[in-house]
């Protein structure tokens, strides 16, 4: 019998939850980015893709529940581990000389919340259009709730300089977050031994560059009217 409470109470178990949920969310962002490349193939391509995602509403809601659940667990794990970490070193060093940790690993606790804010705004912008629309992007009306107008919504939004720049910055933070997270999650799950470490690092860095880079390219192209 799996004792969920016992796993959650241990720091290695909490890390495994963080890693497993991180893996789910990372997997989703890869598909999400690849799907959004449709924007480069014209309005019809993008709108068809949007309609396809909503073709089976049950499936769309299932995905939302899984992703939402993963996100909540990911954040809960972060809160628990952060507290444990702070309790473990009540007195800080006077001098700290980092040797191996990277700017990516040390900023996880800051890039994470930025990505969270981005996710919330992103959902309000393009998924739950009605909510806060007047406040978030005054004068901009989203078309049709069931997303056949995905192209119009995305391009109109990101052509507003404030939103375009925000999306680019948020995705840069997301890239930072993944650069450390994508390698760390394999170790937390005990999946990268000495032999696999090189492959894991290469794969994780490649996919991180692909996702964050792809998103930034899409946002930049729309912001600069390369895609109209």
């Amino acid at each position: 019998m799996i004792d969920v409470g016992r796993i959650w109470r241990s720091s290695a178990g909490t890390k495994a939850v963080m890693a497993a949920t991180g893996m789910i969310l990372f997997g989703f962002t890869i598909v999400h980015m690849l799907g959004n490349l449709n924007v480069f193939f014209g309005e019809k391509s993008m709108n068809d893709y949007g309609a396809m995602l909503h073709a089976v509403p049950e499936l769309a809601y299932f995905a939302r529940v899984v992703l939402g659940g993963a996100l909540v667990l990911h954040i809960a794990a972060m809160v628990k581990l952060l507290r444990q970490s702070q309790a473990a070193r009540p007195q800080a060093y006077k001098v700290v000389t980092p040797k191996a940790s990277t700017i990516y690993s040390r900023t996880m606790r800051f890039t994470g919340p930025v990505v969270l804010v981005f996710i919330v705004l992103h959902l309000l912008n393009l998924t739950f259009h009605g909510v806060g629309s007047d406040f978030l992007h005054p004068g901009f009306k989203m078309q049709n709730e069931h997303a056949p107008e995905a192209y119009h919504n995305l391009t109109t939004l990101l052509q507003m300089p404030m939103w375009g720049v925000f999306y680019i910055i948020a995705n840069a933070c997301f890239g930072f977050h993944l650069w450390h997270g994508a390698v760390a999650m394999f170790r937390s799950l005990g999946l990268s031994g000495e032999r696999q470490l090189g492959t894991v690092k290469m794969m994780a860095s490649g996919l991180t560059a692909l996702v964050a880079g792809g998103n930034i390219v899409i946002a930049t192209s729309i912001l600069l009217h390369v895609v109209k």
Partner: protein
Amino acid sequence: MKLTLQIWRQADKNAKGAFETYPLDGVSEHMSFLEMLDVLNEQLIGQGKEPVAFEHDCREGICGCCGFVINGSPHGPMPKTTVCQLHMRVFKDGDTLTLEPWRASAFPVLKDLVVDRSALDRIIQKGGYISVNTGNPQDANAVLVSKDCSDKSMDAAACIGCGACVAACPNASAMLFTSAKIAHLGLLPQGQPERHKRAQDMFEQHDAEGFGPCSQHGECEAACPKGIKMTNIAMANGDYLFSQLIWSPRTGPSADGG
């Protein structure tokens, strides 16, 4: 060499500590770091002051007793070197060195630069052993060990338990230490019967001692005087998750005493 030393002074476990500054002249570059502190202490005793307490034993880099943080680096700036094996030639004339004890709630400061590392012993007590039948020793070649496993196991077994990994970790986690002990036994045939129970029990004791979680920063690996690798952490995580998700080992002594 002329040095300025900023050293954490703390009278006992409950006292409030503070940094004190000591100028030190006539340091030979051939001295080890601890010998340099011996010179400082001789001077302090001569002045009727309390000498700086620091832990040390073999001074050969193999016992794991010594260790404190020098300018933000546990055991000082030389890689794979304990502080007793660190020589003053690494530093420059006129340097200011800040000496701090390991900082972790699981390592209470006993005095000055000495911390209580018995939390590591309690982790070992939870699983850093194998159970074998007593009696005549069996033939040395009766249990075959592959070269790959024996190498990795010996690499993990090189851990001297100095606590530098905890000191270096931004989360004050002892995962490198704990995982080295888990891997050292878990890689060998003799360690298999208790492999997953070992990971479970040692991990739970690690948390109970108040060490932090592992964020995979890699500072532990960089600070380790024995070059223990983080791949041990991945392996121990795998063993732990196996014990929780796939096959749950019995905990505590079994009823029949066997």
